[in-house]
């Protein structure tokens, strides 16, 4: 068990966006969070990585209580994330975008920077090296020198994943990794996610594309109106009456 929440909840002006959710993310597995629009999936991610402070409940990561820690400290403990829309720096190259992700493991300070001390040079080279290696890992080393804004959607998603991976997180949160890419590309991204898990990083994702979720996830957690309504392996979730009810009128397989 890598991460566990206990009655986790947040309300925005009386509206319970996430309501007393208990969830467990097992190490080395893929956990998927699904649910209709507005079910609180993204809000849950924002709680897990510290963007929102929960109004109730606790979060434990590797047994430590991380509730209320600022996001940069949560990131340093090993929880990394991507966003629904890529927020990369469009005019900078893929490599430059990714290398800053390793910054948290470096110690270059203002004086190192201004005086170009050996440490500043060494750490910069190290960041570049790590970034290059992780770009190879996600399968796009040849795109390293190109500005991110010029890359196709799927490649941008890979850069974003590389940025989240370069710090060597223990848990990677992927917020709709396959949004806005076609079926072939979705399959390729699913393959990448499987590869990430096989290399030792635990993955938790929010996704609407059910086929991808069913094929990837070891455990699926279903949210509706901020509450967890089901949890289990894919085949069990498929036949869960509460889940079918929640999705009724919505899409079951998109």
């Amino acid at each position: 068990m890598l991460l566990r929440t206990q009655k986790l909840g947040i309300d925005f002006g009386g509206l319970k966006a996430v309501d007393a959710v208990d969830l467990v993310i097992g190490a080395g597995a893929v956990t998927a969070i699904i649910g209709p629009n507005g079910a609180g999936k993204s809000t849950l991610f924002n709680l897990l990585n510290g963007f929102h402070k929960p109004t109730s409940g606790r979060i434990f990561f590797e047994g430590d209580d991380i509730t209320g820690l600022p996001s940069h400290r949560i990131a340093r403990r090993g929880i990394s994330r991507t966003f629904q829309t890529t927020r990369l720096f469009p005019t900078a190259s893929a490599l430059e975008n990714v290398l800053i992700g390793y910054r948290m493991h470096t110690r270059t300070n203002l004086w190192d920077a201004i005086l170009r001390t050996p440490r500043a040079r060494r750490e910069e080279a190290e960041c570049r090296d790590r970034a290059m290696r992780v770009l190879e890992f996600v399968g796009i080393p040849e795109l390293a020198p190109l500005p991110v804004g010029s890359l196709p959607q799927e490649a941008q998603k890979r850069v974003a994943i590389a940025l989240a991976l370069v710090s060597q997180p223990k848990l990677l949160l992927l917020d709709e990794p396959a949004a806005g890419v076609n079926a072939n590309e979705t399959a390729a991204l699913a393959e990448l996610i499987r590869y990430i898990v096989s290399s030792g990083t635990t993955v938790c994702l929010v996704e609407h594309k059910m086929r991808m979720v069913m094929a990837l996830a070891d455990t699926i957690i279903v949210l509706n109106h901020g509450q967890k309504i089901a949890e289990g392996p894919p085949d069990q979730i498929c036949s869960d009456p509460a889940v079918i009810e929640a999705y009724l009128g919505g899409r079951r397989d998109a």
């Binding site: 963007f51 190879e136 190109l146 196709p152 710090s167």
Partner: protein
Amino acid sequence: MRVPTTRILWLAALLAALAFPFLTDNLYFLSIVITAFITAIAVYGLNVLVGETGQLSLAHAGFFGIGAYTAGILAVRFDLSFWLALPTAVAVTAFLGFLVGMVALRTRGDYFAIFTLGVGVVITGILDLWEGVTGGTDGLIGVPPPTRIGPLTFESLEAQYYLYLFCLALTILAVRNLSRSLVGRTLLAIRNDEHLAEAIGINVGRTKRLSFTISTSLAGFAGALYAPFLGYLGPSVSGLVMMFNMLLYLMIGGAASLAGPLVGTLLLMAATQGLLAFEEYQLLILGPLLVLSIIFAPTGIAGLVNRIGQRLSDRKTKPGPSAAPSSPSPKNRARPSHAPPHAEAGN
């Protein structure tokens, strides 16, 4: 390619700057260029915060004023030598900048700009009202020029010119190293997206405070050079027009670029000398100029030149039709052969 070209340009600029006093005996020109050098140092400070970190501070001229008045008051009222007054003024400004930053940077975006606008007004107000120390509206008169250090004296304008040129070169070197370092990249990451920066483990609050302190230190440094050069100070050194001018130089020259602040400051200060006869009405032209440049050339002169340079080098390196990067198909994507990134994970 581009790196040697820019290096040659910088070298040429340095040589031209070194030769300039020999090419003219017009002391008026020389003093304008010195003023531009000093102002450019402050604009480089503004660039760190506005250009690289993406935070619009409207208190920058205020900190320039603090640096100038601190150096001026130390020299006039305490007979401190320039070489002690200068670092003291920088330290005082940096410290005040740090304190103001602690409070101001709790706000974001629009609120930060509004807050710092208020800070700027308060600073000017204090310089204006604290008559016993600052000389009030009449200003601080009789700030002596830089005192001698070792064998070097600065009585002649030419000598002062080289002193200020040295300070500017030092600033540019420091700012260049900074912006190319991991620290500089951290600032850019914050400008790009604060949430993303936070999510990759950057302490956004602390980094912004650092950026603000660097920026105010440079404003203080410039101010502390300005006081002994000009010899007198009035509260308007920290006023809204000064603030506007600095933003104008930065935006026209090109924010977040190394050459931008210098180019913008030199060019516009030289150009506005022609408008000097209409000093009050300069803003009638400069106001719209700023607006136009933001609408049509948001990256400033440096951005335009860069784009032209890039297009030229593209033409040289890519003879055929430009090979647009296409996503490699998932089928033939080579599996990486090196160790996965987790090989040495752990804290």
